[in-house]
Amino acid sequence: MAVTGHVFLLLTEEILLIPMIQFNDVVKVYPGASQPSVDRLTMSVPEGETCVVIGPSGCGKTTTMKMVNRLITPTSGEIFVGGHNILKQDQVELRRGIGYVIQQIGLFPHFTIRDNIAVVPKLLGWSKARIDRRADELLDLVGLNPAQFRSRYPQQLSGGQRQRVGVARALAADPPVMLMDEPFGAIDPITRDHLQNEFLRLQKQLKKTIMFVTHDIDEALKMGTLICILQVGGVLAQLDTPANILAQPADTFVADFVGADRGLKQLTLVRVGQVMQTTLLLGNVSDSGADLAAKMRSHKIDSLFITDDAGKLAGYVGLDEAQTHPGKPAKAMLRHLISTTEEEATMKDAFSTMLSYGIRYLPVVDPQRRLVGMVTVDDAQSLIAATQPAPAGG
């Protein structure tokens, strides 16, 4: 039933039903290989969707993606992008119209950040002034200060900053379609979570049609509006929404691939922003220890988030310290928070952060680090309890 529901939704919301990316019976056999890498693949990605292609190694997920911009040529079958048969298009022209982000980022080390972003606009013959404007606009969009970063070289940036430039470069000519090959694969887990959240925020504004390859099922469930699971040999196992993949795996392969802890995986489908508590008890950096202690005692809690006058999260104060220093302002006894999360993060992200740091609650901040809410271990646990998969047939 859920499958029909989804299709119905598409029919009513999308007036144009021409898919942005369409595979028709696509086969790829590498020279010398006895088995195809992609086998009679037929699938479509409607405009504005993020389709995550995932599967075990050898399932042809990267091959599938690279056929879209013809870095790999299909052996047979047809691929349409925006309604055009790509095999009948000039491949250089085709690629200039598709954003491409890869795991190793592939920035040109001898180009400045501005020149890296300028590659496709330059190929398209934009004026220098227009390229300069666009580069600054994109750096802003991905959260890098243009004045600070435009003239730097890639080696002078951290891994996370480089990946942001990689995304900015892919967006440079505003292509309707983006291909992302494990874009956050080479980045440390904390930065990765943050970049994923940032990209989800970005995609909400940009509404690109994205084909995203990963081997990480949690990332797939988090980033995808559609998930395409391939089996070894490039056979399509299931193409569906994350919720349906979890609730109704097409076969035992999908069920096994998604994993045994599907109850826990359900947490991936819930965003922090959907369940966070937004009415919080707060202290201000200038409140006195006595005031804070009184506040905590009256609400029977043992610590309090402290924000500054702009609403930015400054840290927290424990009941003991507040009682010991009744005359001091909060900012003199502030303790730093171990971790924070964002509205776009999944409850799975938040839950695993709380578990790994051994904390019971996690403040939720916006990109400007203003405190917007809080989630707790109890929130996560009650979600798991509510979504425990019913026995088969239920």
């Binding site: 870095l71 690629r95 200039r96 795991q103 190793q104 001898h110 590659v119 890639p154 002078q156 470069r169």
Partner: protein
């Protein structure tokens, strides 16, 4: 003890070699003539060597089946003993400047061809894939990405070629070309009595090596390759 004596004689020869450069005492006119000849042979041979090797190095990275034959052939040329090489060329092109240029060009091929190919192959494949994925043509990938990034390795090859060419150019005077080798051979022919000439020739070759290397560093810095700033230095 004997070693100390020998070292003393060596230093005296070196001093006499330097005196050979002084007007009145030595023959600065001859030194200048041979420096000029030596420089000319080196420069012309390197121009030819680069003109052949750079395109050839690029070509063998595009047409893979040529890679091994070309590297093997240039390697074989490099192993031909220099006296034999000149000897073989004389029946074909006579003596003097021409066989010297041909021989020295052939000797330089290996270093430049191989370093050009190795430099291009060494460019991070992710960078090339990103370039292709963005719709750069093969030509612009070569000119804007591969060659600039391969430049340090290519220049290392050119530097090796420069040093070996300067050293081998001394032999050219044996076959009738004008080079610092003339002074060295005269010194040796005198049977140990004119070590000043041998030293003067060697000092001249060392001077040329420094001059060429400085010029090449200048050239390298003026090209749009990778600088220390870009690699985080």
């Amino acid at each position: 003890m004997e070693f100390i004596n020998n070292l003393g004689e060596f230093l005296i020869s070196l001093k006499d070699g330097l005196l050979y450069y002084l007007p009145g005492v030595g023959r600065p006119d001859r030194v200048l003539e041979f420096l000029w000849g030596h420089q000319l042979i080196t420069f012309v041979a390197l121009v030819f060597a680069n003109a052949i090797s750079l395109p050839l190095g690029v070509l063998i990275t595009r047409v893979r089946i040529l890679y091994d034959p070309v590297i093997k052939l240039t390697g074989m040329l490099y192993t031909v003993p220099s006296l034999a090489m000149f000897g073989l060329l004389i029946p074909l092109v006579g003596i003097g400047f021409t066989p010297s240029i041909i021989a020295l060009t052939l000797y330089s091929l290996l270093a430049i061809v191989r370093n050009t190919a190795v430099g291009i192959d060494g460019v991070d494949s992710a960078i090339i894939e990103a370039a292709r994925g963005m719709g750069m043509t093969r030509r612009s990938i070569l000119l804007q990405v591969e060659l600039p990034l391969a430049l340090p390795v290519i220049f290392a090859g050119i530097r090796i070629a420069v040093v070996s060419t300067i050293s081998l150019a001394t032999l050219a005077s044996y076959f009738g070309a004008s080079s610092l080798g003339k002074l060295i051979f005269e010194g040796i022919a005198a049977g140990g009595g004119r070590n000043d000439k041998v030293a003067a020739g060697a000092i001249g070759a060392a001077l040329l090596a420094i001059l060429f290397d400085t010029a090449i560093s200048k050239l390298e810095r003026s090209l749009p390759g990778v600088t220390s700033k870009q690699v985080g230095g």
